[in-house]
């Protein structure tokens, strides 16, 4: 069984984009997809998996948001060097700081703001992000 592949299970209850995202993330974290490795074009992966292009585009967008990959016109989507990546903790703290400032401006205390985050999580259909 080769490792440079992704699989989706329509019965898993997890959104297809999330399944692909998690698998690519694991391949990058484990070094199977080394820095500089090129991911297939969105169209190829979408067609091979029987998904809409937008679904795979979302995966690449989310991977790019956490700096795991970068997209350029000439090279396509490639895995970034580890130094260029921001950890999830860093990204989460940055977003939390923005939200905390907004909640503070509204005159809301920390418990109420945290409660709003918990409610938002509960309303989400897809599973939450892993820590890291």
């Amino acid at each position: 069984m080769s490792t440079l592949r992704v699989a989706i299970d329509a019965d898993s209850g997890v959104a297809p984009w999330r399944q692909i995202y998690d698998q690519i993330e694991r391949l990058i974290a484990g070094g199977t997809l080394p820095p500089g490795a090129r991911l297939p074009p969105i169209r190829q992966l979408a067609r091979d998996l029987g998904l809409a292009s937008g679904t795979v585009a979302r995966v690449y967008h989310e991977l790019e948001a956490v700096k795991l990959v970068t997209t350029g016109r000439a090279r396509g989507t490639t895995v970034t060097e580890p130094a260029a990546r921001k950890s999830r903790t860093t990204l989460l703290r940055a977003e939390a700081a923005r939200f905390a400032a907004y909640a503070h401006d509204l005159g809301v205390d920390a418990d109420t703001a945290a409660g709003a985050v918990r409610t938002a999580y509960a309303e989400m259909a897809t599973p939450d992000l892993d820590g890291g």
Partner: protein, 240 residues
């Protein structure tokens, strides 16, 4: 070729095609053999099913094409040149391959789907040297038949190259099916067979006067055909 001779020829070729279909109709053994020749040493039952389906999608058309192509050539007046008869086998395999790839264009279904994360390009399926040979063989055929005013042969040479190019493009672009390794092997086989045939076709037309250079080109094109279509066991290892 007149109607009187065309119909018997078509019937004989059709019967020949039917015999070939019965003899070559793929089963589990043929599917397993195909995969092993291309480097999939331990195919699963699902892999073999995919390989057998791949073969059936092509071979199903052979008897019909053996029957139809000469008849079609006669209707279009192409059979005055002996090109259509001489190239029936190549055209049958080419069009069978084309129809097989078109049938494989259906989107991937099933609850469990896999895809390779390796970028797929034309040169991943057909080596660059084979593509160069295809260009040289086609250009040579066009030049040769153009100078000789053999327009049917010229048209068939160009059409053959175009069909091969379409098959290669479909082999790159079509959706994946089954295991990514088996999928790549079957794509590669389609693209290489089409390219190899298109390389060999321009020089395979029988000549009344076979000079040494023509015979040499004929032999070289057959060698190229065998080199291009031969199984490449390392293909299976490139999925990653």
């Amino acid at each position: 070729m007149s109607w009187d001779t065309m119909v018997p020829v078509a019937l004989v070729l059709g019967l020949f095609g039917l015999v070939i279909l019965v003899l070559l109709w793929p089963g589990e053994r043929q599917g397993r053999r195909l995969l092993r020749r291309w480097g999939v040493d331990h195919p699963s039952d699902g892999d073999i099913t995919d390989a057998v389906r791949y073969l059936k999608r092509r071979r199903f058309w052979y008897p019909w094409l053996f029957f139809l192509l000469p008849a079609l050539g006669g209707i279009l007046g192409l059979s005055k040149d002996d090109s259509t008869t001489a190239w029936s086998v190549a055209w049958t395999v080419l069009i069978g391959g084309l129809l097989g790839e078109v049938l494989a264009l259906r989107p991937a279904r099933g609850e469990h789907r896999q895809a390779s994360l390796v970028r797929r390009r034309v040169v991943d399926l057909v080596p660059a040297w084979a593509l160069v040979l295809l260009g040289i063989a086609t250009a040579g055929g066009v030049l040769r038949y153009g100078i000789g005013h053999r327009w049917v042969a010229l048209g068939l040479t160009v059409a053959c190259a175009l069909v091969a190019v379409v098959i290669v493009a479909l082999a790159v672009e079509r959706p994946a099916a089954g295991d990514p390794t088996v999928d790549l092997v079957l794509r590669t086989r389609s693209a290489r067979v089409a390219t190899g045939l298109a390389i060999a076709v321009p020089s395979s037309l029988p000549e009344l006067q076979m000079s040494f250079p023509k015979a040499l080109v004929f032999v070289l094109s057959l060698v190229a055909l065998l080199a291009v279509v031969g199984p490449v066991r390392r293909t299976a290892a490139t999925v990653g």
